[in-house]
């Protein structure tokens, strides 16, 4: 279990408990956190669960594989700290993780 904080583009934030093994995307959907669409359901095929990861957390969220990077190319306004939240798997190491959702997902 880890506390994950989601901040939208206007600065509104919501902190929820997410179980280990779930993705940051699933954590958002299960807790009605807005700003993450996840159209493809976590198969890395749509780039609508795009988030920006706070710099100090970025390296802790794991390696980005090429296929994810390819999808991020298609996301709305990708940045250096962009991730697909379906690919960040929650564990106790991510306790306190903060992600920001983009202005829109598509």
């Amino acid at each position: 279990m880890a506390k994950i904080t989601y901040i939208d583009c206007l600065g509104n934030q919501k902190t929820v408990d997410v179980k280990d093994g779930l993705s940051v995307m699933e954590g958002a959907l299960q807790n009605d956190v807005p700003g993450i669409d996840a159209d493809c359901g976590g198969s890395m095929a749509c780039a609508t669960c795009h988030v920006y990861v706070k710099d100090e957390w970025f390296n802790k969220t794991g390696k980005i594989i090429d296929a994810e990077q390819d999808m991020i190319d298609m996301a709305h306004q990708p940045k250096k700290n962009s991730r697909l939240s379906c690919q960040i798997i929650v564990s106790k190491d991510l306790e306190g993780l903060i992600v920001t959702t983009p202005e829109k997902q598509s």
């Binding site: 669409d37 159209d39 493809c40 359901g41 198969s43 095929a45 749509c46 609508t48 090429d66 990077q69 390819d70 190319d73 298609m74 709305h76 306004q77 990708p78 250096k80 598509s106």
Partner: protein, 339 residues
């Protein structure tokens, strides 16, 4: 106006199998899809990725599954209406009248929505100013390449579409290829051809840059692109081609008076009818307690929906459950037994 027993919206695997389930019951279906071919997500998102959970097929790719389904429904000679989206649905004397954005009209007692996550549409540029130029100097696909002859063209994207068009148009246009990172996911061979052209000065590559503004009043004049260090370059351009892939959008479905819950359509699990009689939803787009977004669930849903469609299309006939192994009628419909 086309009259038919059933209209299927969506030519993905579930829509295709619905054709089969209806076909063996003697019902004719017409299939409408916004893409230019059958297969839906299987063909658009993972044509080469293996699927491991199709019953009886240990492993097949999205493309292979699509081909097999098309083969399976061949006997029914189904008509597909591609490159169009259903815009309007209205009720007339207990049947449905449906209109596409290309102006085609259909009439049927049954509509099966097998639309997945919605219709595929090109992902648009993130800037608001792009709207006024879309279709005039900003394009997401190309239908007539002669438009770009001797013009300055800026191409965005890192995939095969961006690379292929950069290569092709560089023969007749002044092309700048812009991508947000140095790596391109398109075919390495195409990219190395493009690099050769760049060395010869026949094309420009700008990475890692992203679009920050589109300039021009009536006519597109230039764009600004910026890299991560904050350096901006202005590029004079007549046309922008943007290839950021496809996006799935529910589109006009939300305006048809159907209950919609979190981008899905609630149905009952007896016949997959929505809150409107004669409109059904199956596959990823439907929602019921315990719903799994699996292709195999969609196949099951196709079988059940076809029974209710039969009852509505043939109100005076009795529905008889039959096995494909034993039914002479089904064998005739499959073309195995000549009538």
């Amino acid at each position: 106006m086309t009259n038919t027993d059933v209209i299927i919206i969506g030519a993905g695997p579930v829509g295709l199998f619905a054709v089969h389930q209806l076909g063996i019951k003697g019902l004719k279906a017409e299939v409408i899809d916004n893409l230019d071919r059958a297969g839906g997500q299987c063909i658009e998102l993972y044509p080469d990725k293996p699927i491991y959970d199709i019953p009886g097929i240990p492993k097949c790719t999205g493309k292979e599954l699509t081909d097999l389904l098309l083969e399976q429904i061949k006997p029914f000679k189904t008509k597909f209406h591609f490159n169009q989206r259903v815009e309007e649905i209205k009720e007339e004397n207990n049947t449905w009248v449906l209109k596409t954005n290309k102006g085609k009209e259909f009439k049927s007692p049954n509509i099966i929505i097998a639309a997945g996550v919605g219709s595929f549409e090109p992902r648009k540029l993130p800037l608001k100013e792009s709207e006024k130029f879309e279709g005039k100097s900003i394009f997401y696909s190309i239908s007539d390449k002669s438009l770009f002859k001797d013009k300055k063209v800026s191409i965005f994207g890192g995939g095969d579409s961006a690379l292929d068009w950069a290569l092709e148009l560089s023969k007749t246009s002044k092309v700048t290829l812009i991508h947000r990172r140095d790596q391109f996911r398109g075919a390495p061979h195409t990219f190395s051809e493009i690099q050769k052209l760049e060395k010869k000065g026949q094309l420009a590559i700008k990475t890692p840059y992203q679009l920050t503004s589109i300039n021009g009043d009536k006519k597109l004049e230039s764009i600004d692109i910026k890299n991560e260090k904050g350096e901006t370059i202005k590029i004079e351009t007549d046309y922008i081609l943007s290839f950021f892939g496809l996006l799935m959008k529910l589109g006009p479905i939300v305006d048809w008076g159907l209950n919609i819950d979190n981008k899905t359509i609630p149905v009952n699990t007896e016949n997959f009818q929505t809150n409107k009689k004669g409109i059904f939803a199956i596959g990823d787009i439907c929602n019921y307690p315990g719903k799994l977004k699996l292709i195999l669930s969609g196949f099951h849903e196709s079988a059940l929906v076809s029974v209710e469609c039969f009852k509505r299309a043939r109100p005076n006939e009795k529905y008889r459950f039959q096995f494909t192994t034993a039914s002479k009628e089904i064998h005739e419909r499959l073309g195995i037994l000549k009538k």
